[in-house]
């Protein structure tokens, strides 16, 4: 039997007005979206479209950031229990706004930095949350988060439905399946807010 790390899916995560504001904001700030980077050797940020291809907003969530953080904070205690992650005091949140137009993907990875040459940090990622949203009607296919199994087996695919949040521990290996968007329009991208809840590093 294929086994997976725990994850949680929450549909209709944000109230309608905040979901609408977020989509409007993303579409209105198109010029701020630039190619995403990954962390390479010695924690150096670099661009490698073979590994990760998508767009990241240099403006982040702007004024909507506090509302999003509030929504995450409210559900965090129960979420940790459901993910079987030992409770911890939140040491901060990283939040990024990304767009996945045609051809975007992210190869299997974890969200923890593992390079031993990187100097110790005061906090580390503990929980990963991905909030999907997009324009209606949906203008793309693919873009599922693939949660990789523990051992042999097929990945578990989580469909990027509008106003859906998926959460898992940051050490869980995962990927983003390729996005197919025949129109090629930015507006039809698979949009997402990536959020990492930090805990104090030991």
């Amino acid at each position: 039997m294929t086994r997976y790390f725990r994850h949680r899916i929450i549909d209709n995560f944000l109230p309608a007005h905040l979901h609408g504001d977020l989509l409007a904001y993303a579409l209105a700030t198109r010029e701020a979206f630039k190619p995403t980077q990954i962390y390479g050797v010695a924690d150096e940020a670099l661009q490698n479209v073979e590994v990760r291809k998508s767009l990241r907003s240099e403006k982040g969530l702007g004024a909507l950031k506090q509302d999003f953080k509030g929504a995450v904070t409210d559900m965090l205690p129960g979420l940790l229990a459901e993910l079987a992650v030992k409770p911890f005091e939140t040491a901060g949140m990283e939040i990024e706004l990304v767009a996945h137009p045609h051809g975007s993907h992210f190869r299997p990875h974890i969200d923890l930095r593992t390079d031993p040459r990187v100097e110790a940090r005061t906090s580390e990622r503990a929980v990963t949350l991905v909030y999907y949203f997009h324009r209606q009607p949906k203008g793309f296919t693919g873009g599922e988060i693939a949660i990789l199994p523990l051992g042999p087996g097929d990945p578990l695919l989580v469909e990027p439905m509008d106003n859906r949040l998926v959460a898992f521990a940051s050490f869980v290996p995962h990927a983003v399946e390729p996005v197919i968007c025949h129109s090629g329009d930015f507006e039809n991208s698979r949009f997402a807010v990536n959020c990492w809840v930090h805990k104090t590093a030991h």
Binding site: F5, R6, L112, A126, F171
Partner: protein
């Protein structure tokens, strides 16, 4: 195998991990590897919510499983050695 009977086992809780079904799985950032405890190992891990001696762990498992003492001690000793090598527990003098 390690001689741990006179020492107390203490969790190193900083390793990220979670329960999958009946076992615990941890990720070591230093080693870049996952470690799985197995079902009995998960029982030991949960018991180590508070520090315990080797003897105390064996007594706990003997209360849970139908197993003779020598077999239990042999398996616990081997498991503790693996956990220590993986950085999941440390051994401290009583």
């Amino acid at each position: 195998m390690v001689e741990v009977s006179s020492q107390t086992l203490v969790r190193r809780i900083e390793l990220p991990g979670s329960r999958i079904e009946d076992e615990m799985v941890f990720f070591s950032q230093d080693a870049g590897k996952y470690f799985a405890t197995g079902p009995v190992g998960a029982d030991i891990w949960e018991f180590l919510e508070a520090p315990h001696t080797f003897a105390s762990i064996c007594e706990h498992l003997l209360s849970l499983y139908d197993i003779d003492r020598s077999t239990c001690e042999r398996h616990v000793s081997a498991f503790v050695a693996q956990m220590e090598a993986a950085g999941l527990v440390s051994l401290e003098a009583k």
